[in-house]
């Protein structure tokens, strides 16, 4: 089983981290994603600290901080003594396996279709919300975003994020767009959050959604739409990236 995880994605997982800022975060995200995607399997031992730090081209201090963060999230555990080291604790979640399979089986054209459709619905909803949202609608959006910010589990994040998009469509005063957004969330919501596991940076999503709410409140429809489309494009790009990694891992 271990051997079946081909060297290609693993090589990508352990390739040097060249992002100049927030290196700890980058390392955490890279490893957490790989664990969530099953690229490094449950029980796998990570390379020794020095070796791993060298491979990632980060300092051992950075690596240790990253491993501590992963331990805190319950994604790895460190065993002491003979045969000790850092081991992967992949959550035995059947739905993760199912989603992984689904994401691998989706073609890039299907993923693109999902992205195109989401963009059309959510982009238009954001534009219309900027024209039609009341102060109440805006307050509600901020409240839902607060829930996303405070969420501690992937499930809570997914729900709050889905809720955010649905509330934008409701603020646009459109029953049809709201219905479409609910359908989209039901169809791909778990795909958008689960495969990244804890690796998606929720703060980044909160930041992006905050900008959208600000544009809606400022009654700037073009900006609300552009920001929304940009955010969704990034999301679909990540899905495609994961799709390819899963395909490469066989």
């Amino acid at each position: 089983m271990l051997d079946r995880v081909s060297q290609l994605p693993k090589a990508a997982v352990f390739a040097p981290v060249d992002d100049g800022s927030g290196r700890v975060e980058v390392v955490v995200r890279r490893l957490a994603e790989a664990i969530a995607l099953g690229l490094i399997a449950d029980g796998d031992q990570l390379p020794a600290e020095l070796e791993l730090a060298n491979a990632l081209k980060v300092s051992t201090v950075t690596l240790r901080a990253a491993l501590a963060a992963l331990r805190e999230r319950g994604l790895v555990e460190t065993r002491r003594g003979r045969g000790g080291g850092t081991f992967v604790l992949a959550p035995a979640n059947p739905s993760t396996a199912r989603l992984r399979r689904r994401l691998r089986e989706l073609s890039t054209s299907e993923l693109r279709e999902i992205g195109d459709y989401r963009s059309a619905i959510a982009g238009t909803a954001a534009r219309l919300a900027a024209l039609r949202a009341s102060a109440d609608n805006v307050a509600r959006l901020r409240q839902v975003l607060g829930r996303l910010d405070a969420a501690t589990s992937v499930g809570d994040r997914r729900r709050a994020d889905g809720r955010f998009h649905i509330e934008v469509a409701a603020a646009a005063q459109s029953v049809r767009l709201t219905r479409a957004e609910i359908d989209i969330q039901a169809e791909v919501g778990e795909l958008l959050w689960l495969p990244y596991g804890e690796a998606v940076d929720p703060r980044e999503v909160v930041r992006s959604h905050t900008q959208v709410i600000d544009a809606i409140e400022a009654r700037d429809p073009a900006r609300a739409r552009a920001l929304t489309e940009e955010h969704l494009d990034k999301g679909i790009e990540r899905l495609m990236e994961f799709h390819w990694r899963l395909v490469a891992s066989g």
Binding site: R132, S134, R159, R163, A170, Q173, S174, V175, G189
Partner: protein, 235 residues
Amino acid sequence: MSDRHVDQVADRVHTIVADVFRSLDHVLASVVACYRASGSFACADLAAVRPEIFDCLSRTHEVVAGAGVIMAPGVLADRRRWLEWWQAPPEQDPVFLNVDLDPDSLDYYDYTAAEWFAVPERTRRRHAVGPYVDYGGTDTYMLTFTVPAEVDGRFLGVVGADVRAARFEALLLGVLAASPTQITLVNGEDRVVATNSPRLPAGSLLPDPGSDRLPLPELPWSIVTGARRATVLSA
């Protein structure tokens, strides 16, 4: 502002809304009686309120799409949250509205945060909300009228009635079409409830507050009069 067309619209709105609230008063009385009569107020006790809800629906069937009682959390002994809500499809018996009351669900109907619930709870006064997208509930563009139910200062929930935004507009069509001037009925947030201007469809926000404004009594609504319309629709 002594335009007789404006007065006609104001009268028509008042009549429609007063009818709805009058019907709700019967439901309210029945909820209060039901609460006082039952020792530990439980979900099944609300069956006693149903005849009043059905009466309300049949009395107002030209206007109201749904009506019922929405309980404040913790009031019923056996359900934390509950909607005793019935919809009235044309020519059919009332249908119970099933909503998702599971907080973990994406479709969760978080009604205590809804304006039609939260405002009467806070002010203890009747309220009119909308038009708004009622998602998770009826999935319709809706106007909702609610009245707080309280006994000895204890807030039990609200009794309410839904009127489809499209239906409300249709009820005003005659008086709106007859007016040579632009008449726009807006709610408290300046959102258009009904209008005879094609540039301001119901649901859009009034771009500028307008100088000719007639606030309506007992409702957070106003009638805004604009410039003369280019063409008068058939009277």
